[in-house]
Structures are given as C-alpha cells and as structure tokens.
C-alpha cells in the first residue's frame, strides 16, 4: 500500500508523505481544526497547499510555506505547471494516500492497490451503506 505520492516539482524523486504529526503541526499553524481545513469548503487555498507541501516534503529538508509559494509561482511562470490545480490534485492525493479520509476513500482513489480481499471488503461496505436502516 502506498503512503506517499511522487512529486518531482521541487526536486527529483521526491514524495509527499503526510504523517500524523504533519496534520497536528498544520492544525497548530493554521489555528483551525484539521477536519475543517481539509473539508474542501475552503476550496484548498494556496496557503494551505503550501503548508501541506512544507510538511509533506519535510523529509527532504524543511522549507517554509512561503518558500513553496515562491517555487509554485516560478513553476507557473516557467510553464512547467499549467495551473495550480495540478499541485492541488497532487496534494489531495497525498492526503488520501495517508488514509486521512479512511480506507474506502483510499481504494476509490487508488483502485489499482486493491486486492481481491479488499474488493470484497469494499463490496461489504457498499452493502452496509445501502442496507435499510431499520432492518
């Protein structure tokens, strides 16, 4: 099972990996509960993306959110990245890969990771959800 997502924009062979501590640190920095931050009601603003990148790529040497903001601007200016959505998607995938949204979301996003056993588990979850509540 993967726990990280490859990201070559800020260095060759890097992978975004969001640990439990990463989320706690982001929550602390942003002064907002992490559940709210990642609900996408805030439409994943650039500040949050930069914070997530700073934490997710910490293992390659720490750079703060502003550093990532500048790099993203450079990438956009040089045309290496078409739009900020490319990086947003990468970060969203890294969050799902860390299983923040649970196993089900993980398998929906990375179906290639599913084994036969996992497929049965997914089917059971689906059935459980669709089962009448008063039965």
């Amino acid at each position: 099972m993967r726990n990280s997502v490859p990201c070559d924009y800020f260095g060759e062979g890097q992978e975004i990996k969001l640990s439990i501590n990463s989320y706690s640190r982001i929550q602390e920095k942003m002064k907002t509960p992490i559940g709210e931050l990642l609900s996408l009601t805030r439409s994943f603003d650039v500040a949050l993306i930069c914070e997530l990148l700073a934490e997710g790529l910490r293992q390659y040497g720490y750079h703060d959110a502003q550093w990532y903001g500048n790099r993203i601007q450079e990438l956009l200016d040089s045309g290496k990245v078409d739009s900020i959505a490319d990086i947003q998607t990468l970060v969203a995938k890294a969050i799902i890969a860390s299983k923040f949204f649970g196993k089900e979301m993980y398998f929906l996003t990375f179906p290639e990771e599913m084994t036969e056993e996992d497929k049965e588990w997914m089917k059971a979850q689906e059935e459980k959800r669709n089962a009448p509540k008063n039965a």
Binding site: N3, Q27, I34, S39, L40, F44, Q59, A85, T89
Partner: protein, 137 residues
C-alpha cells in the same frame, strides 16, 4: 503532543456552544500516541514519521502477532491440562482463546476514535473530495 488549535478548553467550549465541530482530531492523536508508545513500543521519532495508514497497519500486525503468540501458549496449556482431564471435559485451544480474545480494549477504543473522526467527515464532504480528485486527474 499539544492540544492543537484552541486547546482543551476551547474544544469543550465548542462542544457546549455547538458553534463549530469540536476537533476530534486531537482525541484521535492522543489515542494514536497511546497505542504507539504503550502497545507498539515506538519511539517518538518513529511515531512522528508514521502516516495514519501505517500506524493502523502496525496495530493490525500487532493484533495478529498477539493472536499467534496466544495460540502457541494455549496449545501448550491445553496439552498440559488435558493430561489431567477426562475425555469429554478436555479443554481446546479455541475455548481458551475465546476467553482471552475479545480484542484488547485499547485497540477497540482506538478504532472507535478513528471511526468517530472519520464520521466527522460527512458523506457530502467525501463526495466532494472524490469529485475533486476525479475532476483533476
């Protein structure tokens, strides 16, 4: 680990006033730490590097290991006991396991906390994430 955004009092206040959802994340992290340090015997620097998925895999692995160890021990215990018991009233490994293997309370509590946190992310929210990823990939 600190209390995160707002701290303990703030959480309690939010729960009482109902203005915002209380940050269940902090509860989850507290249990995750308890599992990591108490049950898995991890060091803080090892715990810091773990993702939610990795921690849960480690806990599943620990449960498997516990079952295996108990099975080995109870095989020996059952053999020793059965020497002294009449046929028909002999104990089986399965029966011994049933007495010990309602799963570890800490693990049950940890999983409950995890489910609680996951439930805080509403179905609509999940749908939004799913749509967001599929639209952008």
């Amino acid at each position: 680990m600190d209390e995160g955004a707002g701290g303990k009092e703030e959480c309690a206040k939010k729960r009482v006033t109902g203005q915002k959802k209380a940050p269940v994340w902090n509860d989850y992290v507290r249990f995750a730490e308890r599992m990591a340090y108490g049950v898995l015997h991890l060091l803080p620097e090892q715990f810091e590097k773990l993702t939610i998925g990795e921690l849960e895999q480690l806990i599943d692995g620990w449960e498997e290991r516990r079952k295996l160890r108990l099975r080995e021990q109870f095989t020996m215990v059952a053999n020793l006991m059965n020497i002294h018991l009449k046929q028909g009233s002999q104990v089986s490994v399965k029966r011994l396991l049933e007495q010990v293997l309602p799963p570890d309370e800490d693990v049950v509590e940890f999983k409950r906390k995890r489910a609680e946190f996951e439930n805080e992310l509403t179905p609509a929210q999940r749908e939004r994430v799913k749509k967001y990823v599929s639209d952008n990939s």
